[in-house]
């Protein structure tokens, strides 16, 4: 099966510090991959390069066979908006908008009318256990509820790949467990691939396989038992 997303010989430096030293990494359609490693190992830099947030100094990134690392900021921005979804540790929901409009925002940015965008956004609430919370603002949601709203927002545009950076880092163990289950299930249910950056083996355990980054180098790759 062809890779949906592939990075080849990715290199990135910040001054004298080598964040990535020729990393190769590929993700198949519908696959969930965990990137693990200690702080400062380069795992977030790898995610940012694969997601088109950051350009590598060398190497290339291809999405469904099309090279994306040499695109201009405007095209990469459009790509992130339409083909990728993002879930972060905190702060990704706009505090001013109610939950349903937060989820609808990527659709509206893609040109969908507001009424249609909100209607499609609300379809995600009940399946993710957020029924009745559509009008609440992020500050009125618990941490777990806010992360579930973020998952809905990441998936509402039917992306090819969802990127999650420490998605349970701000949650307690039980809530984190539930959130990861929902994230993996919802992503797979929509046919999307998932790349999760984490330092928590419990989180990585939800994924199909785990890769480890240390000092900018991909050390090992292992499939879930």
């Amino acid at each position: 099966m062809n890779d949906v997303l592939a990075g080849r010989a990715l290199t990135k430096r910040f001054g004298q510090t080598v964040a990535l030293a020729g990393v190769d990494m590929a993700v198949r359609p519908g696959e969930a991959v965990a990137i693990m490693g200690p702080s400062g190992s380069g795992k977030s830099t790898l995610l940012h390069c694969l997601a088109g947030i950051m350009r590598p100094d060398a190497g290339e990134v291809r999405l469904e066979g099309t090279r994306i690392d040499d695109m201009g900021e405007r095209r990469r921005s459009a790509l992130r908006r339409t083909r990728f979804g993002f879930v972060f540790q905190f702060g990704q929901l706009l505090p001013e908008l109610p939950a349903d409009e937060n989820v609808a925002l990527p659709l509206m940015l893609g040109g969908v009318t507001r009424a249609e965008a909100v209607r499609r956004a609300r379809e995600w609430f009940a399946p993710l256990g957020l029924g009745g919370m559509e009008a609440r603002r992020p500050g009125e949601l618990s941490g777990g509820q806010a992360q579930r709203a973020a998952i809905a927002r990441a998936l509402v545009t039917k992306p090819a790949v969802v990127f999650a950076d420490e998605p349970t880092g701000a949650l307690d163990q039980t809530t984190g467990h539930d959130t990861m289950r929902l994230l993996v299930e919802a992503t797979k249910h929509n046919g999307a691939s998932l790349i999760v950056v984490t330092h928590d083996p419990g989180v990585a355990g939800w994924c199909d396989r785990t890769v480890e980054v240390r000092d900018g180098v991909l050390l090992a790759a292992g499939a879930r038992a």
Binding site: A78, E96, E101
Partner: protein, 665 residues
């Protein structure tokens, strides 16, 4: 320990934190400099009124008279000369007037420096010959402004100039009056200028205070999450307040000092602005050291108070800030305050208390500031409800989320709209008088018109001035023969003595000089001379309008720029995450523009109407084209200024959103 922690918080804000601190410092500096200007203007007009009081004699009444004094106006090259005739009464030794080393003896004249200079530059037959026997030059203490043209003529108490009846109209001069001292009292027009200056000060000070307050809250806005965290770990409200106030006051004190220095540097330039016939003595625009010290102390204190107000949410509910819950809606009772003040405007303006009027205008101003955030919230709800595109939705939701912050961005221009609306109605159009300088007229004593006319003919012939001298009742009319007919607008107007004429300035001044003393105590004047003071006052109002609007715009645009930059810094995490998820920078920019322009259009328009309503009772001319033009220019410049100031923060937005790994702070 609080101060130490505060200092570490201030210094530990990082590069962007320090940028915010510099913005606050700059805002306070601008506020302080303009505040000093607004206050100094009042002291400057008071100083002018005091220095000019000696030529506005007050009758001795029951006190023993020591001198007799009268004044009138003469003209040269289209400029006014104040002529004061002064005589000591027999057996009296009055104190000399201010600016003179001794009391003038009969026959001698003392000229102001500007008049002496002009007399030396022009041919004697055009000016100097009017004032022979120059004894000296008047000191600055005798002058309203450095360019003033004034002549003090010593007379004998029984000289015709001090015994003949004069007109009592202040535009022509004042009757001979026996005085007990030469202290005099400020003239009516000097007092009028003081009232206008007070109104101008109020119009400038209120937006300055609002701006200063906004600047203070910028500091708080950057800190509130951090201070909320301090509350969460157990800091008492008192400690949080003390730290915030200390931080705001430290920054504001530095800003106030910088503002005082900036004002000091600007004074020489400001002194060149011509009002009431001339520029200013630098000392007039230099506030008393106590006022200066008061401003440098008061501004940081007010900033501290404003910071406390801004921190109220943190102190009352630390979780409210930390978790960003829905803010409570503002009450419509704010609207009642504005309605109440507007209802008072027509009532109060019937009175003649300038102070009360200034207070009501100030209250109207403050009411707009009070009602502003409420209206912004309302506009936000309407915008959000009707939004179809993301930019308008974001703008509307942000307006609802923090209407006070949105109001801070537009308040400056909206309040300037009030000033423009108020002054737009006061602003006079060009006073198109007849501008006739071809006819000189002087009233002759009853029954002596023919004699005076004959003497005028003799004097003019002797001086080589070609003129036709006629009489009309007791008025002697001198029509200069080399004058040209005025065409254009003026030609359509009727003149009492034939077609409107414009004389050569030199020929006119030769005629004036030749006719000096023709009728003791009276000056032959042209119609243009008689229109001089009306034109000057209306011209001064126009200059004042431009000054007040310039100050207001400077404040408004600086305010818009600073709050826009601060808003980007405050929302940097949100902006960064939005861009990271693929939101185009243009959408963020459109949202920012809409967030500013929508409330600006509504509040700016509303403020103009409120200003116009408050200005109606003070209208001295009909609303006119120039007032309308002022309004339109204001609106256009305000919008352009705010959009421009907002655009300046775009590189900052690009910079903060370029950070791929945003952190909460």
């Amino acid at each position: 320990m609080n101060v130490g922690l505060t200092w570490r918080l201030l210094r530990g804000g990082g590069r962007r934190g320090m940028l915010g601190t510099w913005l606050t410092l700059g805002a306070v500096a601008v506020s302080t400099a303009l505040l000093l200007f607004a206050v100094a203007v009042d002291f400057a007009f008071a100083a002018r009124a005091d220095r000019g009081a000696w030529r506005n004699p007050v009758a001795a009444g029951s006190r023993p008279a020591v001198a007799v004094e009268a004044s009138r106006h003469d003209y040269v090259r289209g400029r006014e000369i104040t002529v004061v005739d002064l005589a000591a009464l027999p057996g009296r030794s009055p104190e000399p007037p201010p600016g003179l080393s001794r009391f003038p003896a009969p026959g001698e004249v003392w000229l102001s420096p500007a008049l002496a200079d002009l007399a030396d530059r022009l041919p004697a037959a055009e000016l100097a010959a009017r004032y022979p026997k120059r004894a000296g030059v008047l000191g600055d203490e005798a002058l309203v402004h450095p360019d003033e043209l004034i002549v003090l003529a010593g007379r004998a108490p029984d000289a015709p100039e001090l015994t003949a009846t004069r007109s009592s109209d202040w535009i022509v001069g004042s009757q001979p009056v026996k005085v007990a001292t030469l202290a005099g009292e400020p003239t009516e027009d000097a007092e009028g200028y003081q009232v206008l200056a007070l109104i101008a000060s109020v119009l400038m000070v209120v937006p300055l205070l609002v701006f200063g307050g906004a600047a203070a809250r910028l500091t708080v806005a950057r800190r509130d999450q951090r201070l909320a965290a301090l509350r969460l770990v157990g800091a008492t409200p008192g400690q949080v307040v003390a730290m915030t106030v200390a931080e705001a006051v430290i920054v504001a004190f530095a800003g106030a000092l910088a503002g005082a220095v900036a004002y000091a540097l600007a004074v020489p330039l400001l002194s060149r602005v011509r009002i009431d016939g001339g520029p200013w003595f630098v000392a007039d625009l230099w506030p008393h050291p106590l006022v200066m010290a008061g401003a440098v102390v008061a501004v940081p204190l007010l900033t501290g108070l404003s910071a406390v107000a801004g921190l109220r949410r943190v102190v009352v509910s630390p979780l409210g800030v930390a978790k960003r819950e829905t803010p409570p809606g503002m009450r419509w009772v704010r609207l009642l305050a504005l309605v109440a003040v507007l209802a008072a405007v027509p009532v109060v303006s019937r009175g003649d208390s300038a102070g009360l009027i200034a207070v009501v205008i100030g209250l109207a101003f403050l009411s707009i500031n009070l009602v502003g955030p409420w209206v912004v919230g309302l506009i936000g709800r309407i915008t959000a409800a009707s939004a179809r595109r993301p930019a308008r939705l974001l703008a509307g939701r942000r307006l609802v989320d923090d209407p006070r912050s949105a109001w801070r961005t537009v308040s400056g221009v909206a309040l300037t709209g009030f000033v423009a609306g108020f002054l737009g109605l006061l602003s006079p159009g060009t006073l198109v008088g007849t501008q006739d300088t071809g006819h000189l007229r002087v009233s002759a004593p009853a029954g002596r018109a023919a004699t005076v006319a004959q003497e005028a003919r003799d004097r003019l012939r002797h001086a080589g001035v070609a003129a036709a001298v006629t009489t009309r009742k007791d008025v002697v009319v001198i029509a200069l023969k080399d004058a040209t007919r005025i065409t254009g607008d003026g030609a359509r107007r009727e003149a009492p003595d034939g077609p409107l004429l414009r004389a050569e300035p030199a020929a006119l001044d030769r005629a004036r000089t030749a006719l000096t003393g023709l009728v003791p105590g009276r000056t032959p004047t042209t119609q243009a001379d008689d229109e001089y003071f009306g034109g000057e006052i209306l011209g001064d109002i126009a200059v004042g309008t431009v000054v007040v609007l310039s100050v207001s715009f400077l404040v408004a645009i600086a305010s818009a720029g600073i709050t826009a930059a601060s808003s980007v810094l405050d929302r940097r995490q949100t902006y960064a995450l939005l861009r990271l998820a693929g939101t185009p920078l243009e959408v963020l920019d459109r949202a920012r523009r809409a967030e500013t322009l929508i409330p600006l259009a509504v509040m700016g328009g509303g403020a103009i109407l409120v200003g116009a309503f408050c200005g109606i009772p003070f209208m001295i001319t009909d609303p006119n084209l120039s007032g309308l033009v002022t309004l339109v220019v204001c609106v256009a410049a305000g919008f352009a200024g705010v959009v421009g100031a907002g655009a300046l923060s775009r590189p900052l937005l690009r910079s903060v959103t370029a950070d791929p790994a945003p952190r909460p702070d």
